[in-house]
């Protein structure tokens, strides 16, 4: 259990630094910046207390906002997906394969499950971030288009990271 907490703290710090120092500098077509830090919320073990998910999501968003001068936008979006994540797990899962203490991932839950789960959360997060950033609905479809392009890139990085770091356990 302690090991699990420790690993999640390390992951928290690692993802914040990775996002801030590496991914924030990526700009594809001048508007796409993959937000891979939300992987932290996705990988929290099943049956983590919901208040804990919410609080850690709040802190995570706060850290990202602090570095990217985006003042609260990421906090709002991350709290939203922290709230949605248990719900998304229930929607996607077919059987009761969500054993407590196991973290979601391609190896534990299968590619299709994880992909849908990540898709829901990433889409929710990105739409929230992009509309809060623009803060108007005049360019509604342009903003939506940008958000969805960004979802594709973030998802690619999230899936790649799954194969990079969680392969040996099989």
């Amino acid at each position: 259990m302690n090991n699990l907490i420790f690993r999640n703290i390390i992951r928290f710090i690692g993802l914040v630094l990775l996002q801030v120092l590496v991914f924030n500098n990526i700009e594809v077509f001048s508007f796409i910046t993959p937000f891979i830090y939300i992987l932290f919320i996705m990988l929290l073990p099943f049956n983590t207390p919901r208040w804990l998910i919410l609080i850690s999501g709040f802190l995570l968003g706060l850290c990202i906002d602090m570095f990217s001068n985006s003042g609260g936008i990421h906090t709002a979006a991350t709290v939203l997906i922290a709230y949605l994540s248990p719900w998304a797990q229930n929607v996607v899962s077919t059987k009761s394969d969500n054993e407590p203490g196991i973290q979601p991932g391609i190896l534990n839950s299968g590619f299709k499950w994880f992909f849908l789960y990540a898709l829901i959360l990433t889409t929710a997060h990105h739409i929230c971030v992009f509309y809060l950033e623009i803060f108007r609905f005049t360019d509604f479809f342009d903003t939506l288009k940008h958000a969805l392009y960004n979802v594709v890139f973030t998802l690619v990085f999230i899936i790649i990271s799954q194969y990079l770091f969680f392969n040996r356990k099989s």
Partner: protein
């Protein structure tokens, strides 16, 4: 009252969610009004420190290109300097809307090979005909005279170093404008010899030696070195002055090539007067 508390307990997650979202919106709101005073700015101690650390690394990677731009900028600034211009202040002069006319321009170049330990030393620079370099142009560094362009190819040029048995450069003592000739005797790469300064001139150790401006390659006042020791040879009326170079010839990386815009004119004039 009890049903309300029960209700709050039942849905405490949802209320926590609302509370946190409220905070987030508050931060967004506050940030959009007080951009500068925001706590969540990238300028605070933690994020500023981490950014400083990361730019400490990335800056080092960019050092090469920064060096190059600085050298280019220096070349540009040198060509704007007053000493690069010749005064055209004649009593009668043709319409000419500036008082000064540019005489020297500078081109920055990188040294790609260099020796200092032979009797005749040469440097190779990474600029050539394409960049406008011609034979017999002067080459200096920020610390002083380096040499004279000897040969030019399409993209490179070779420079006769000041440390060459055939190099002769007109120089003067800054203090009293007495002119002599700089030669290199081939013993020490840090020291050259200044000849032809008459023995009645008062000099002392530490005096600065600069270019005289009598040659066509170098403008007046380019640094060369400082007097290290001197003696008067028996039966002669001239000093033999040892000059310690400001330049470390073992360690030259960026130089400037000087283009004298009025060289052809001067050459022609000199040729004409010699023929008479």
């Amino acid at each position: 009252m009890r049903p309300l508390i029960q209700f709050l307990f039942k849905y405490y997650n949802f209320f926590l969610f609302l509370l946190l979202e409220f905070f987030a919106i508050l931060i967004i709101y506050q940030n959009s009004y007080y951009q500068q005073s925001s706590i969540l700015s990238a300028a605070n101690a933690i994020s500023g420190g981490i950014y400083g650390f990361s730019s400490g690394i990335t800056d080092y990677i960019g050092l090469k290109s920064i060096n190059k731009t600085l050298a280019d900028e220096n070349a540009h600034l040198l060509s704007l300097q007053k000493s690069s211009f010749i005064k055209t202040n004649n009593k009668v002069f043709v319409v000419n809307d500036t008082l000064y006319q540019q005489q020297y321009t500078y081109l920055s170049a990188k040294v790609i090979s260099n020796t200092a330990n032979r009797a005749n030393n040469y440097l190779t620079l990474n600029k050539g005909l394409k960049q406008g370099i011609k034979k017999n142009m002067g080459v200096i560094s920020s610390q002083g005279i380096v040499g004279i362009v000897k040969d030019v190819s399409e993209n490179f040029c070779s420079v006769t170093s000041l440390l060459h048995s055939k190099t002769k450069i007109s120089a003067k003592i800054k203090k009293n404008d007495n002119v002599g000739t700089i030669i290199w005797k081939g013993d020490d790469y840090r020291v050259v010899t200044l000849k032809d300064v008459p023995a009645h001139v008062k000099i002392s150790v530490g005096d600065t030696i600069i270019s005289s401006g009598y040659s066509m390659m170098f403008p007046e006042g380019i640094l060369i070195g400082s007097i290290y020791s001197y003696e008067i040879n028996k039966g002669k009326d001239f000093y033999e002055i040892r000059v310690k170079l400001f330049n470390d010839f073992n360690n030259i990386s960026y130089v400037y090539v000087i283009n004298n815009l009025m060289k052809d004119e001067l050459n022609e004039l000199e040729k004409r007067s010699q023929n008479e």
